[in-house]
Symmetry: C2
């Protein structure tokens, strides 16, 4: 069950390590930039985009031009498995609403879904397009239940499930609207 | 099949991206440091340590004091899934032989095995210690067959399988000896 392992890998190899350090990283960013960005403590979360299509661009702007990269947070540096000073970073974005007002958040896609996508493209991986859909849903369920039980991650993340098979095709601002729905609950 | 997914993830999300850039990174390192380190082109490979126990320390020195961190290669920087300028780096080590002569190589552990180890420690992950052993072997087989078919990775890696369940317990220089066996074939 590919997705089961990918969800555990995403948790033990990443979220469990970086989420406890996120608050510190945001504090440093605000000090260094003398910035009042992210006024609402409840939005001091990593917003994790989970597209059900598993289709993930490397630059978020490619999915929606109302989302603009602003700045990276200060690096998180950890020795991992023989790599000395491995770097983990999160990107801060500005998201424009329908009045073109900017809202800010720390957001990124759930990278393991790119593995599912690429496996479904490579015949030797043995994962069909239908399998991939099932595996994305299994990834969501597994990740959700791991995170709900995790003390290290409590209140430090937000999973944003993107039902993007049809809607995204028709609405070029589907993504920003989905992010804003979440941010408005936090503000 | 957790290990099947972890091997594909390690390939599509990491090795396929970084191995083609490794030669360039080593060249830059040698120029910037005016160094003749890694004289033998055949050792310009990422040496990937695969311990069958899945037991992976974060600092290689903890496994064998004859292995010393020297320097990181120049960063490899890639936009990935919304993280702007995600950093990938490899560490260069000095490995002492029985005459205390130094040999150099780019080496690290296969990070996904840490996920298997942590899953076997967490009862909610549903992976027993016996399962873990099977999954490590499946990881090796799957990774080996993916890499053998990969144009991007050809001749740019070396898998070093460490049968470390009993031997490592008794020989505090087990790891350096295993690495040197590989390096001597490359020199
Ligand atoms: N040695 C090493 N150095 C690296 O820089 C690196 N980056 C990835 N990997 C390993 O390759 C595979 C694919 O990576 P992917 O990014 O799809 O999943 C990653 C990704 O979704 C997330 N993650 C890890 N590091 C970062 C990071 N720096 N930024 C964002 N996400 C990250 O958590 C998953 C598991 O990470 P690791 O458990 O460290 O092992 C990964 C994985 O086995 C690496 N291995």
């Amino acid at each position: 069950n590919v997705a089961h392992g990918l969800a555990w890998s995403f948790y033990t190899g990443y979220l469990k390590l970086v989420l406890p350090r996120l608050e510190n990283s945001i504090n440093q960013y605000r000090d260094q930039n003398n910035s009042n960005i992210l006024r609402y403590r409840d939005s001091w979360r990593l917003h994790i985009l989970v597209p059900l299509s598993a289709f993930i661009p490397d630059k978020i702007e490619e999915a929606d031009r109302n989302v603009h990269f602003l700045h990276n947070l200060p690096d998180i540096v950890i020795n991992r498995a023989g790599v000395r000073n491995r770097v983990y970073k999160h990107s801060m974005y500005e998201v424009l609403d329908h009045l073109r007002q900017p809202h800010h958040c720390v957001v990124e896609y759930a990278t393991p879904l790119q593995t599912l996508y690429q496996m479904s493209q490579d015949s030797s991986a043995g994962l069909s397009a239908e399998d991939r859909r099932q595996q994305v849903l299994l990834f969501c369920r597994t990740l959700k239940s791991i995170l709900e039980e995790s003390l290290e991650c409590r209140n430090r993340y937000r999973l944003i499930i993107l039902d993007d098979d049809q809607e995204a095709e028709q609405d070029s601002h589907f993504l920003s609207k989905e992010i804003l729905k979440q941010l408005q609950q936090e503000e």
